[in-house]
């Protein structure tokens, strides 16, 4: 959305192609953002209002089935067999959340009181956190790195934002349920962004969130539908077993499932993590290995909204530079 807005402001004709019924991606389902707890829809409202002021043609519910490059131009056909020709493409295909069912030992999809971080955001949006029997949880556990930094899942990469998301969500749980205890099971706390470390500290000092360094080995359901969690507390060097009423899995980010197919059709490279690979990881992060094809946002790597918007703007700059060089 941001790339389209910026290119439109630079005078280009832009089509914004979205496979879903509406724009906005995952942020549509999010409650508040870290670190300032800004409501997620405020960001979307800014983007939508800027789009409204633009001439960008928005094509939702559109699936591109064919990509062809001829004489430096791109012929894209959709599911209705309608073909449009473009001079440049910006791939902003985003990410998808790790399917927590693949971590069978946590029982997501089997035990009703095991949910994902996205499921918890939905609860925040509904204004009520509750467990399967309709009651209020008194103990909530967060499991970090679900589908990230995990060789068994084939995802070696760090999803980067789950740590701070867990911190944010832990605080929100304590805000909504002042009497609840909250535990986070983590490998490392990666507070990479501005004010993240401060939020982490606040979660401990003000909200009493307890952080346990150790991966959860398994979750199992008790007779009362609470969840028994086994882990190792690696700071004390002891195994640990405890019950929680609600277990939240911090699902990681992985490439959208269309990524590999698009990369193949456009002959561009993907990295070992499956995301689109940039020409240069430092200086040309918006350039793919194919001339005229640009990449932006979480289609290239896990990143937060701040960085995604910056990356989107940088992509628009690169496209502008590309066209200017073509006409010189």
């Amino acid at each position: 959305m941001e790339t389209a807005i910026r290119l439109d402001q630079n005078g280009y004709l832009v089509d914004l192609i979205e496979k879903e019924e509406s724009l906005g991606g995952h942020i549509k389902n999010w409650f508040r953002l870290f670190p300032d707890r800004k409501p997620a829809n405020e960001i979307l409202e800014i983007l939508h209002s800027n789009l409204k002021l633009s001439k960008v043609k928005i094509m939702t519910s559109t699936n591109i089935t064919s990509f062809e490059k001829q004489n430096g131009r791109f012929f894209l056909s959709d599911h209705k067999n309608e073909t449009t020709v473009y001079d440049a493409l910006v791939l902003c295909t985003g990410f998808e959340l790790f399917d927590a069912k693949r971590k069978e030992e946590y029982g997501f999809g089997i035990y009703e009181n095991v949910i994902t971080s996205a499921g918890l955001e939905a609860m925040f949006n509904s204004g009520r956190i509750q467990i399967s029997r309709g009651s209020i949880p008194q103990r909530v556990g967060f499991v970090h790195c679900v589908g990230s930094r995990d060789e068994k899942c084939g995802n070696h990469h760090c999803s980067k934002i789950c740590c701070v998301t867990a911190v944010k969500q832990a605080i929100e749980v304590r805000e909504m349920l002042p009497s609840a205890e909250v535990f986070c099971f983590y490998m490392d706390m990666r507070m990479f962004g501005p004010y993240y470390e401060e939020l982490y500290r606040e979660s401990q000092e003000k909200w009493g969130v307890q952080y346990i360094r150790g991966r959860v080995s398994e979750a199992a359901q008790n007779a009362d539908s609470s969840i028994q969690v086994k882990a190792e507390d690696t700071l004390t060097g002891r195994p640990l077993k405890m019950n929680v009423d609600l277990l939240v899995l911090m699902v990681g980010m992985q490439p959208a499932k269309e990524t590999a197919g698009i990369a193949g059709k456009l002959s561009i490279k993907t990295g070992g993590n499956g995301f689109f690979k940039a020409c240069d990881e430092h200086y040309q992060t918006n350039l793919s290995s194919q001339k005229g094809v640009f990449i932006a946002g979480t289609a290239t790597a896990p990143m937060n909204i701040t960085d995604t918007i910056s990356h989107a703007r940088a992509a628009a700059t690169q496209v502008d530079k590309y066209f200017k060089e073509l006409t010189e």
């Binding site: 069912k101 069978e104 030992e105 029982g107 999809g109 089997i110 035990y111 009703e112 398994e218 199992a220 359901q221 008790n222 007779a223 028994q228």
Partner: protein
Amino acid sequence: MEKNSKKFIWKDYQKEIADDHFFYVRSCIRQTFFPGSESFFLKFMRDELGKDVFEDARHTTCTGIGFHGDVVPHDTIMTVVARHFALMTEAGYKNVAISCVTSFGIYSEILETWKHFPEIENRIRENLKKATGRTFKLPENIAHTSDIIYKFRDDIASKARFPLINQNTGEPLQIVEHIGCHYSKMFPEYGVGGAEFPQVLAGMIKAWGGNVIDYPERRHCCGFGFRQYLVQANRGYSASNSKKKFESMNPYHPDMIIANCPGCTMFMDKWQYTIAEMEGITYGKEGKGIPVLTYEEVTGLVLGYDPWDLGLQMHQVQVETLLDKMGIVYDHSKKYKTKDGKDVGKPLVPELLMIEKNIHSSKRHP
């Protein structure tokens, strides 16, 4: 939600199970502790299903107990198993049916090792050739015998005389299923349903009318753990692991435990006596312990075999409460007699697990 999702997960772990022509390899200990299980399997496969199941008297232990007890080196066990493959090859078979979960894990581990390290397979082939002059082909299909019973579970259900239903209440029997760790925890794709929510025993239970109990320590080790038991000083650790499982399952009032591993069946059966003596606790709703059966024994009961022909009198925890619930009629006078009527001797108070102390003070677990 629960049932649908479980189907979703275990569909990832379908395995191909051969239909016929099996090279059968026995367990070291099952013929002693559960003497009717393997003989029932052979009778069932050959006489009821008309399958070709071959066994070779020259087959030996796989040495798995020694391997996991750190007294048999890896190259030795691989060469022993290579010899089993040679016997299979010489007999003209391609499908191996393994009675023991330890052996099943050993076979799986060796096949995986050779797949990733072909130079090791070559070395073992050379060892076997030098030692015995034999050569071999790798099996085309590897199945634990519980896989095979699972494969034919619907045929068994169609012939069931005594389904897993409490005849007094009409309700499904509440059953704990326990797969041995080495069945699929090392290589989930080798087991039906994988490691976390295995289906091999659960599928039998459901097909025959019972209800599977999902209790918090369902995945926990039975307690055997090889060195937990084999090293005498560690045996308290073995019993305490078993106790952890019993404590976890007991509130669900299981009518029985079904296991597919020789060690698991034995330890979950016999440690109940040990725990009763040590702790004064007897598990089970009736206060007589929770019967622990092999899947072959359960299959036999479902099909209407005589419980004493299945060897159920050899169990530590007595099975009569279970037989009564299933509506199975049995002749108590034949329980401790051989088929030709000889008396085999009888435990002093078999129906009570705690006999050293004053048996009248035996208490049920709360």
